[in-house]
Structure formats: C-alpha cells, structure tokens
Amino acid sequence: MNLPRWADVLLLPLINLVIALLAAALVVALIGQKPLDVMTLLARGAFGTERGLSYTLYYTTSFIFTGLAVAVASHGGLFNIGAEGQATLGGLGTGLVALWLSQKLPAPILLPLMLLGGALFGMAWAAIPGYLQAYRGSHVVITTIMFNFLASTLLVYLLVNPLKAPGGMSVESVPFGPAAHLPGMNEALAWFGVAWPSSPLNISLFLAIVAAVGVWAFLWRSRAGYRLRAVGSSEGAAAYAGIHPKREVIIAMGISGALAGLVGMNEIAGVNGKLLLDFVGGAGFTGIAVAVMGRNHPVGIVLASLLFGALFQGGAEVSFEIPGFSRDMVVTLQGFIVLFSGAMAYVAAPWIARLFQWGARHTARGEVVKASGASNG
C-alpha cells in the first residue's frame, strides 16, 4: 500500500503541517483568544512592513544555517542535536578572530577570516562527537547533548573571566573594531541607491542562500556527497562498495558543525559586534524543526526557515498587540511541528493510502461501466 510520490513529498507533509497548526490553534482558543485574529496579526507583523520583513529574514538566516546543519548530518544517518552548541562555538570562533585582528586588518580580508574561524570552530565541536561515534562507539545523540552544555559553560567561563570587557558590568567582550562589521542589508542596498529601514538583517542572508545551494550541489552533484548519502542509507552496502563509513561519519558531522558555526556571521559579525551570552537563542533546536519540515532538502529548508522566521517575528509583534499572548506560543507550535511532521510523520499515511485506494477503485469501476456500455452499443 504505497502512496504516489507527489502525495508522499507534498500532500503528507502538508497534512501534517495542518494538523500541527490546528493543534496550536486549539491551544490559542483554549487560552481564550481567537486563532484567526492571531494568524492575521502574525502574518501582518511578519510580512506587512519593510521592517517586519527584515526581522523575518534576519531570523530566517540563522534557521537556514542550523537547518542545513541538521540535514547534512541526517543524510549521513546521524541525528545532530548539537547545532546549538556548534553555533555557540562558531560565534566564539568568529568573535575571537574579530577581537584579535579587527584593529589590524581591513574588512575585505578580516570578514572571510572571521567566517573561516566560525566554520572551523563549529566543525571541530561537531567532529569530536563524530569521531567518538565512529571510533569509540559512543552515540552521537548523547554526546552532542553533552557538548551543548559544555559549549554554553565554556562561553560563560570565557566571558566571565578572560574575555570580559575590563571595567564593564555586563558579561560581554569589548566591542570589535569597525572592520569586523558585516554590512547590514540597509547599507548594502544603499550602495545601489535603494532606501531600506535599518534592522538586524545583514548580508549573511546571501551567505545562507549560497550555503543552501552549496549543500544541494554537494549532496546530489558530487562524489563525496554521494558517499555520504550512501553511508546514511545503508552502512553495510556502502562499506561493501568500498566506502569507509567511519570517515564519512566524521565528514558528515564536520560539515554539519561548520554550517551551524556560520550562525556566528549573522549574530556576532552582523548584529552584535561583540561576544555575549546566549546569542544563539535556541536557533540550533529550531534547526531540528526546520530540517524535519523541510525533509532535509535545501529547498524545503529555505521555505521552512522562512516560515519559522515569520512565526518568530510575527509572534513577537502579536505579543505586543494582544495582552496574554507570548512568543512561547511559537515555541509550542515548533514542538507540534517536530511531533506531527517528524515523530508522527507516517501516522496519517495509511489513511491517505486507503483514500487513494478507494478513489482508484471508484474511478476503475466507472471505466468498466463505460467500457461495457460501449460494447453493448
């Protein structure tokens, strides 16, 4: 009882998304608010103004990075829960390069170095759990959970002790020099004479798009990507074909961590201009929802990131408008999406298949009647 491909790729995910949205609507109704009003306000807050749209795309940027990170690991047969920690380390790498060199180098040389620093730190933080899974037999899910806590503790230690701005009260580093500033979207558009309101949105959005295309090309248009996917779908078959599964595990985790590490370019280089606590803000966990919803495909991930970006921005707007509505409603919806589109993705499948069978029988019988009628006449 198999579903047609279009139903499996489009219809089933859509039905699951609708179920998740209905569950969230039920909660909204339960706390005494009108789901439709909330939806309208949310959409207007996310897309209605240039400023709102900018914030939506700013959130989208980080989600694309973490979503791609989870997806690449997933194609290698690994569940990377550690995107949050890898993004934290990525921001740390980006920030350390900026703190070290922002007074000495011009922006065109410094910014690529910061990107490299973030990617390498993220890569290392993911490659260690990958190595431990491949060669020491510890499970990557547990290790990456532990590495999330280790990453946040490490950041706290560094910001409380060696990196703390001298004389400052808050737990953050000194601001970077101007060379370490990744141009905002308003500045970039101003080069072309387009006026755009100032917002956290910066040109790392383009970096995210490039990363999405790069992941697609890597996974489906390169030998290395083919090897990675082969190990993900069947380790035994891949080993029989001469691929080293252990090496692929480390490669998958390394690329995954590097992608998560790029969050630092958006948050540290693009927005904050200094190192501070908790700049990832749960984007690593949202990446799981994004990858689950986007079915681990870059196109799906970009679309799902846009949806979550809109939910986070719109949710913030709604919480200003409606007393008693909090952005945690968006977190709840995120959980429902992971539940219905991820864990329970195929619960609805037999029902839909039955519907298709019924439909097929129905049309087939119609054709039989038509055919017999033709022979009589």
Binding site: I31, R136, I145, M146, T153, D328, G335, L339, Y346
Partner: protein, 326 residues
Amino acid sequence: MDEALIGALIASTLRVATPLILCALAGLLAERSGVVDIGLEGKMLFAAFAAAAGGAAFGSTSIALLLACGVAVLLSWLHGFATVSHTGDQVVSGMAINIVAAGLTVVLGIAWFHQGGQTTPVGDAVRLRPLWPGAQAGLQALPGVGDFLGPALGEGLLGHNALVYVALALVGGVWWLMYRTRFGLRLRAVGENPHMVDAAGVSVLKLRYAALTLNGVLCGLAGAYLTLAQNAAFAPNMTAGRGYMALAALIFGNWRPVPALLACLLFGFLDAAAIRLQGVSLPGVGQVPVQAIQALPYLLTVILLAGFIGRTVAPKALGLPYVKAR
C-alpha cells in the same frame, strides 16, 4: 572540615540528587525496554508545572501530585503512540516533547496566572515539609556525640521531606522489579531481543507501554519535587537541563539502578560543591572556576561513553522500533 559544613554538603547533595534519581529511574525503565527517552526533561518540566498549578488552584498536595503524574504519564503515552505504536523516531519524538513542554507551560502559565509564566506560590500546607523537623535539635542535645550527629545526621540525612526518602527507596524498588520479578525479566528481554519475547507469546507493545507508564509516574514525582519541595512556584524552564543530566547519570550508571543512584549522588555532590567552592583557593590547585565543576558531569559522561574509563553497554534493541513482520 567542620561538622556544619559536612551536614550542609550531605543535605544539599541529597536535595539536588532527588529529582535526578527519580528521572534516572524513569529513564532506566523506558530504555531497558528498548525505548530511548530524551523527553525526560520535558516530562519533568510539564509535571512541575502541573503540580504547581494544581497545588495553587486546589490547595491539596495529593491533587497536585496526581496531576503531575497524570500529565507526565500522558506525555509518556504520546511518546509511546508515536514510537511504539507507529514506529516513529524515538529521538525526534523526545525532542518534540521537550520543545512542546518548554513552550506550552509558559503559554498556559501566562494565561492562567498572569505573572510572566510563573505560577502563584503554593501554600505552606500544600508544600512537602521535612518529615522530622526536630531531628537536628534533638540529636544536638545528646551529650558527647551531639556536636557531630546534630549537623551530619540531623540536618544532612534526617532533615528532608518524604519525597527524598521515596526516591531512595524507589532505587531498591526498581532494582527488585527489574531483577526479581517476572515482569522485570520480560522488560529486560524486550530491550535486548523483542523478537524472542514476541515469539514466546508476550506482547512487546504492552510491555513497552507498561514501562512508559511507570516512567511517566516517576517523571511526575521528579517534577512535583521541584515545585512542591525545592521551590514553591513554577518558573519558565525551571528544570534547566536536569532531565539531560539524569540521562547522563543513567548512562554513567550503565543502565543499572544502583550505579545510576551513585552517579546521581556524584552529580548532586558536584553541584553542591560548585556553589561552595566559588572564589575559594584550593591548596595546590589554586582557584577552580565554578564553570569547570558545573561542566564535570557532562565531561565525565562523554569520557565514560568513549570508553576511556570503563565500558558502557546499552540495551541491544535500544532505539529500534519493533516491527512484527521482520
């Protein structure tokens, strides 16, 4: 070291370890039956909210406890429905429960209590009080040994509420259930080789649901401890990673009750020591950063899992959905 410090250290170790012990036992039951349980954190968080909300609304300890366990059992069944009945991914389902709990508790808290996600504190009558409040003063009065026994025994061991002793007793209870009953034998078998259990005519589905039900009750107690004993109200994300730490303790204890208890006590002791070592210069080592001690449980678990100290052996069928036809 003086007696007061020993007493305080023992007391806070037990206080911190209690929710870890309850959660680790919960995880042990689920994982020995073959179901990965990353959702400990979310179930404990939701149970803590249910206990606080129930306690504040109805003013009764038993209703609060019942609600906490009820909510956690429902979440466990949801996990079972997704992963045992429909062979969904166990890690994804657990993550979903954690995210839903983190969001929904705050949404409901704001809607019902209007305090930014906090609940109104539960009344003193609802809270769990120390069982023997006079123990310390009584032992202190003893001639000769009173100076030592008062703080160490009175405050450290006898100054706790009932749930602390229940948690300790449950370690023995779970051990007995796992290793001395027919149900326990089957539970362990279903986590190692479900096909064999099925071939023997025992339902894999029922066993795993039974394990998840007990798991929910224990998570409920852990959550209730946080809002009825340790604090008086619910605050957003108040579990703060304790569920994951319990998972670490469970693995550290090699999926066995008594070693898991020891791991929980070790992690609890590290937490208690970290607060007291802040700014203190140790002889020979110098000042130890408090973050290093806080990171130790996670670091130790990683090192243990990597096989550098000892060897962990997970249940063989852990994380694999059971499909009868195979």
